[in-house]
C-alpha cells in the first residue's frame, strides 16, 4: 500500500486522555494551520468526564475550503493506549499512525497498510522535566513540534502563536517554545521530513476568524441588548452564559460606580430559568436563557405560557444527543419537534437555525428584536458541534446605526393618546397587539397577564367563541411571523435537475461538499437549500414543489425536520427522502454521499456485507 500523499488536504485525529491538557496543544496545532492561510475545521470529541476517559480531537485541513467532516482519518496521533486498538483501525489504508513509542506497540495492533511513526514522548519528557505535571503538559506540546516537522509546517508561525497565546504570562513562552523544538528536532533527525502528507502556506482564509458558536451567541446577546440572563448549567450550553458574562464584565460595568447594566441569575433549574426570562421580558427587559434538550423538556410548560400570553422570550438551545441524558457531550439536531411544537395544547414556536458562528452572533442579536416584535418565544437552535468547536467563520460585524426593534409597546404618552387599550386587540391587522410595561401609566394600560383564556381586553373568559377568536388570531400571527424570520439560502447546481437536498444548521458544510462529490464524481446534480427558520417561508414550499425528490439531511434518527415539513406542507411520504446521521459525531460528506447514492435509481447497490461499526467509522463510500 502506497502511503497517502497530499498537500493541504487531510484529516488528522488526536487520541488523548481527558484532563491532560491536550486540548490547548491540539488547538495550537489547528490555529497554526489557520494562520498559514489554510481552512481548518477542528472538532473536539470528548467524554462526559473530567479526567481519565478517552478524548479525541479531529482536524480537517482543506485548501478547497471544505469545513465539514469529510469522513475517514489520514493521520492518527495516538497518546492514549486505552483507545489505541480502536484508533489504528480507523486509519485509512496508506495513512500514518504516530504514537508514543516509549512503550513498544502491541504487535497485534500493527497494520501493514499504514506507516507507523514512533515518537518517544514520555521518554523525552522524563529526561527533560522533573515535575510530573510538566511531564504531562509538555508531552502534548512536544508532539505538536514533531508534527510541525513531519507535515512541514511553518515553525515560525507556531512560535509566534505561542507568544500571542501567553501574552501577559511571558514566563510560559520560552518553555513552550523549547518543548516545540524538542519535538521538531526529534522528528527531523529521525524521519524523512516531510511525510507524504504536508502543508504549504497559502492565502485561503482571508479575513475569516476561528470562533466557537457559543461565544458568538454570548456576544450576540451583549450586542442585542440583553440585560437579564437566567440559566441552569448544562452541557453543551454552559459556555453561552460564560461568554455573556465575560463580555458583560468588560463592557457593562460602570467604571465609576461599579454598577452593572446586567443581571445574571444561576437558577435552581431550567423551569426557574425560563420563568425568570419570561418575568423580565414581561417587564420590558431583554432577557434570555441557554439550555440543551433536557432543559427544553423542562421548559416546555413555560414556553406554552409565553406563546399563549404572548410574552417575548429568547431561548438558545445548544442541542446534544438525546433522548433522556443521551450522550451529553455528543452532537445531534434532535430537538426540532420538541421545540417546534413545545408545550401542551395547540402551540407553534419560532425556531432559528444558524450554521456558523457569524450567524450565531447575527441571529442571537436578532432573536431579541424578533421576540419583542412578534411577542412570542424565539428559540435559536444550534448544537454542540457549532457551539463548542472552533469554526472558521466570517468576521463579526455590527452596524452602529442599528436601533433595537422594541416592538409594539405603548408608553404613557401613547396611552394618553389612544382611545381604548386592549392587550389582545388586533389594531393593525397583523395579529400582533400592543402591550404595556408595568408601571407605564397611573391610570391606563394595566392588564392582567394570564395563561388562561381571556378576551381581547385581557379579561378572563371561558366563552368558546372568544377563545377561538384568540387562537385564530395566533394562527394569523404565525403568517405574519413568516415575513420576519430569515429566508432560506438556495444553491442551484446550474443545470436542469429535478432532485435536490435540503438541510439546516451544522449539516451545511458536509452537505455542500457531498453535493460537489456527487456532481463531480457520480454525475448526479442536486440543487440545494439551507433552511434558516421555522415557520417555513413560502420559498421553502416553492423549492420543494420545483423538485420531484428532495433529500432532507439532518442529524437525528427520526427525520424530525422532514416530519415538520410534511406536517406543515401536508406532503405525502414519497417526496422527501431522508439522509440521517445520529451517532453523536457531526455528519460527514462521505456519509451523505453514500446515503444519497443508495437512494438513487440505477445507483442502488446492495452492500456485500452488513455495515459494522469499524467500516462505518471508515465511511469509505
Amino acid at each position: 500500500m502506497r502511503p497517502l500523499e497530499s498537500v493541504n488536504d487531510f484529516v488528522i485525529k488526536f487520541a488523548n486522555v481527558n484532563g491532560t491538557g491536550s486540548a490547548s496543544a491540539n488547538n495550537l496545532f489547528a490555529k497554526a494551520l489557520f494562520r498559514m492561510g489554510l481552512p481548518v475545521s477542528p472538532k473536539n470529541i470528548f467524554p462526559s468526564n473530567i479526567q481519565g476517559l478517552p478524548t479525541w480531537y479531529e482536524v480537517r485541513v482543506s485548501e478547497k475550503g471544505y469545513l465539514g467532516r469529510r469522513g475517514g482519518v489520514d493521520i492518527i496521533l495516538s497518546v492514549n493506549p486505552q483507545s489505541m486498538a480502536q484508533d489504528i483501525q480507523e486509519l485509512e489504508p496508506g495513512g500514518y499512525f504516530i504514537y508514543d513509542n516509549t512503550k513498544p506497540l502491541d504487535l497485534r495492533l500493527i497494520r501493514n497498510d499504514v506507516t507507523i511513526i514512533g515518537l518517544p514522548l514520555t521518554r523525552i519528557c522524563n529526561e527533560q522535566y522533573e515535575d510530573p505535571r510538566q511531564r504531562q503538559l509538555f508531552k502534548n506540546v512536544i508532539y505538536v513540534g514533531a508534527l510541525a516537522a513531519l507535515l512541514d509546517m511553518d515553525f515560525k508561525v507556531l512560535t509566534n502563536l505561542v507568544a500571542d497565546q501567553f501574552k501577559g504570562k511571558e514566563k510560559l513562552v520560552l518553555p513552550n517554545i523549547h518543548a516545540l523544538e524538542l519535538g521538531h528536532q526529534y522528528a527531523r533527525s529521525n524521519f524523512d521530513c516531510p511525510i507524504g502528507i504536508r502543508v504549504e502556506t497559502v492565502d485561503k482564509v482571508g479575513d475569516k476568524i476561528l470562533l466557537d458558536g457559543n461565544t458568538a451567541l454570548g456576544l450576540g446577546a451583549i450586542y442585542g441588548g440583553a440585560t437579564v440572563a437566567a440559566w441552569y448549567p448544562i452541557t453543551p450550553s454552559t459556555s453561552v452564559v460564560d461568554a455573556f458574562e465575560k463580555y458583560a464584565r468588560r463592557v457593562r460595568i460602570d467604571p465609576g460606580t461599579g454598577q452593572r447594566n446586567y443581571a445574571i441569575l444561576q437558577a435552581e433549574d431550567e423551569l426557574a430559568a425560563i420563568g425568570m426570562v419570561i418575568g423580565a421580558s414581561w417587564n420590558g427587559a431583554r432577557a434570555f436563557t441557554a439550555t440543551s434538550g433536557p432543559g427544553v423538556s423542562l421548559m416546555s410548560e413555560f414556553l406554552g405560557l409565553a406563546y399563549f400570553a404572548e410574552i417575548p422570550t429568547v431561548l438558545f438551545d445548544v442541542q446534544r444527543a438525546g433522548p433522556s441524558t443521551g450522550m451529553p457531550t455528543r452532537t445531534q439536531q434532535a430537538d426540532i419537534l420538541s421545540t417546534a411544537y413545545a408545550s401542551h395544547g395547540d402551540t407553534k414556536q419560532v425556531l432559528l437555525f444558524p450554521s456558523t458562528p457569524r450567524e450565531c452572533f447575527d441571529f442571537g442579536a436578532m432573536a431579541f428584536d424578533l421576540a419583542e416584535r412578534l411577542q412570542t418565544p424565539i428559540i435559536l437552535m444550534t448544537d454542540l458541534d457549532l457551539g463548542m468547536n472552533d469554526n472558521m467563520s466570517e468576521p463579526l460585524a455590527w452596524d452602529d446605526e442599528r436601533k433595537y426593534d422594541r416592538g409594539k409597546v405603548l408608553n404613557a404618552e401613547d396611552l394618553d393618546r389612544v382611545e381604548k387599550f386592549g392587550r389582545y386587540l388586533d389594531v393593525d391587522g397583523d395579529a400582533i397587539c400592543y402591550r404595556t410595561y408595568p408601571g407605564a401609566h397611573p391610570l391606563k394600560g394595566a392588564y392582567f397577564t394570564r395563561g388562561s383564556s381571556r378576551d381581547e381586553l385581557a379579561v378572563y373568559t371561558e366563552k368558546g367563541e372568544e377563545y377561538e377568536l384568540n387562537m385564530l388570531r395566533l394562527m394569523r400571527k404565525w403568517e405574519t411571523i413568516k415575513e420576519y424570520v430569515p429566508e432560506p439560502e438556495v444553491f442551484p447546481c446550474g443545470r436542469a435537475t429535478d432532485i435536490a437536498v435540503l438541510y439546516f444548521g451544522t449539516s451545511e458544510e458536509s452537505s455542500r461538499e457531498a453535493v460537489d462529490y456527487l456532481a463531480d464524481e457520480d454525475g448526479i446534480y442536486l440543487d440545494a437549500m439551507r433552511v434558516r427558520a421555522f415557520p417555513f417561508n413560502q420559498a421553502v414550499k416553492d423549492f420543494i414543489d420545483q423538485h420531484d425528490k428532495v433529500f432532507v439531511i439532518e442529524q437525528n434518527r427520526d427525520a424530525q425536520l422532514r416530519t415538520l415539513l410534511m406536517a406543515e406542507f401536508e406532503l405525502g411520504p414519497d417526496k422527501l427522502k431522508s439522509v440521517l446521521c445520529f451517532d453523536g459525531t457531526p455528519i460527514s460528506a462521505r456519509n451523505i454521499r453514500k446515503q444519497i447514492l443508495l437512494q438513487m435509481p440505477g445507483h442502488n447497490v446492495t452492500p456485500l456485507r452488513r455495515e459494522t461499526a469499524a467500516s462505518r467509522a471508515g465511511e469509505s463510500a
Binding site: Y223, Q259, I264, N283, P395, Y437, P442, R450, Y460
Partner: protein, 350 residues
C-alpha cells in the same frame, strides 16, 4: 350572589395622601366562595396599600395557580398582574424584579402552589432575598380540585371528607427561616387588625418578606376536626405581640409600656412598633424565632404576628450590584458596545 361591584361609593370616603380612596385600590368582583378567607386577605391588601398611599401602578401582582392565585384580579385593578404557571410565580417575580427595581412586587400564592409543586422555587427565591412581599393564602387544602389535603395540612387534621391527614405538615415560616428569609410573619385572614399592619410592614421591608396567612376554606376545610377552620384558628392562635405600622413623618402618639416595645426604622424612614407579648421570642434572633415556632407547633397552638426580621441584609439587586437605573430603561447607548470592539475581538480570533 352578586356578580358585579356596585359603582356607588360613599361621597366622603377618606382619601389618602395621593388623593385616592380605598376604592381606587380595589379590583374586579371575587369569584371565590362566599366567606372565603382569601377575600378577607384581598381586603387587607387593599387597606394596607391605601393606608400606605402606594401608587397602584407602581405595584406588580404576581401569582401561580389555584384559588389564592386568582385573587390578584380582585384587588389593585390599576396594577399590572401576572397569573403565571403552577408553583412558578417566584421565578417570574425574580425576572420581573430584575428588569425593574423600582416597582413593588407582590406575590400571591397558596399552600399547594408554594408548599408542594412550588417548594423548590419558594426555597430559592428566599435564598436570594428578592425584594418582594410573598403572601401565602394557606388553607391546608386544594380548593379548585375539591378539597384534597395539601402539604401544609397538619398531621391528623381532617378536611370535610373526614380522613385525618397521615403526613407531617410543612411549616412555611419555619422553612423560610431556615432558607434565610429576612422577614417572616404569620397571620390569620380573620384578624385584620393584625394582618393589615403586618402587610404594611412587609411592603416596607427591603428584601424577601413572607406572610403565611391562615385562610380557612369554607367549602372543604372549615369543619370540626380541621386545624385550619375559623373556629380552630381563633381558639389556637397566639400572637407574638401586636404590630403598629407608623408611616414616615407621622407623629407617634401612643405610649407603650417600656421594655416591651421595639421601634424599628425601615429603609424608607417609616417605622414599625412592635409590642411584645411573648417573652420566649426575640424577633431579631433567627434561632429564637425557630425555637418559638417549634414550641408552639409542639403545644398545638399557632404562633402569629411578626416572627422574624432582619432589615439590614442586602437584597438581590445589592448582591448583584445591578445599576440603580432599572435595567428595562437602558437603551442601545448603554448596552451595545459598537462595531469597534467587534473589530478588536475579530483580530484576537485570527
Amino acid at each position: 350572589m352578586s356578580y358585579q361591584i356596585p359603582k356607588f361609593r360613599h361621597p366622603e370616603l377618606p382619601v389618602n395622601e395621593l388623593g385616592y380612596t380605598k376604592a381606587d385600590y380595589e379590583g374586579s368582583i371575587s369569584t371565590l366562595c362566599a366567606g372565603c378567607g382569601h377575600d378577607s386577605i384581598s381586603g387587607a391588601i387593599v387597606r394596607a396599600c391605601h393606608e400606605l398611599s402606594l401608587e397602584p401602578h407602581k405595584i406588580a401582582k404576581l401569582s401561580g395557580i389555584g384559588c389564592s392565585s386568582k385573587t390578584p384580579t380582585y384587588f389593585l385593578g390599576k396594577s399590572h398582574g401576572f397569573n403565571s404557571v403552577h408553583g412558578r410565580m417566584p421565578s417570574v417575580a425574580t425576572g420581573a424584579a430584575m428588569a425593574n427595581r423600582d416597582l413593588l412586587y407582590l406575590g400571591i400564592s397558596g399552600d399547594g402552589d408554594t408548599a408542594s409543586i412550588g417548594l423548590g422555587q419558594f426555597a430559592h427565591v428566599i435564598r436570594r432575598n428578592l425584594n418582594m412581599v410573598y403572601i401565602v393564602m394557606n388553607n391546608g387544602c386544594y380548593g379548585l380540585t375539591k378539597g384534597q389535603d395539601s402539604a401544609t395540612a397538619d398531621e391528623g387534621s381532617a378536611s370535610k371528607k373526614g380522613d385525618p391527614n397521615p403526613f407531617s405538615a410543612i411549616d412555611l415560616c419555619g422553612m423560610a427561616l431556615q432558607m434565610g428569609a429576612t422577614f417572616v410573619g404569620r397571620s390569620f385572614s380573620g384578624d385584620k387588625e393584625q394582618l393589615v399592619p403586618l402587610i404594611k410592614a412587609a411592603m416596607t421591608h427591603r428584601g424577601f418578606a413572607l406572610l403565611d396567612v391562615v385562610s380557612p376554606c369554607v367549602t372543604f376545610n372549615n369543619n370540626p376536626g380541621s386545624t385550619k377552620s375559623y373556629q380552630f384558628v381563633r381558639e389556637h392562635a397566639e400572637a407574638t405581640g401586636t404590630v403598629d405600622f407608623v408611616p414616615m413623618q407621622s407623629e407617634i402618639t401612643a405610649s407603650y409600656k417600656p421594655g416591651s416595645t421595639y421601634e424599628i426604622t425601615m429603609h424608607d424612614g417609616s417605622s414599625i412598633h412592635l409590642h411584645k407579648v411573648s417573652d420566649s421570642l426575640d424577633p431579631f434572633d433567627r434561632c429564637s424565632a425557630m425555637v418559638a415556632l417549634e414550641e408552639h407547633r409542639h403545644s398545638g397552638s399557632i404562633l402569629t404576628g411578626l416572627i422574624y426580621m432582619d432589615k439590614n441584609a442586602p437584597d438581590l439587586h445589592e448582591v448583584l450590584q445591578t445599576s440603580r437605573r432599572p435595567l428595562n430603561q437602558l437603551g442601545e447607548g448603554d448596552l451595545c458596545p459598537g462595531n469597534k470592539m467587534l473589530e478588536n475581538i475579530n483580530a484576537s480570533l485570527r
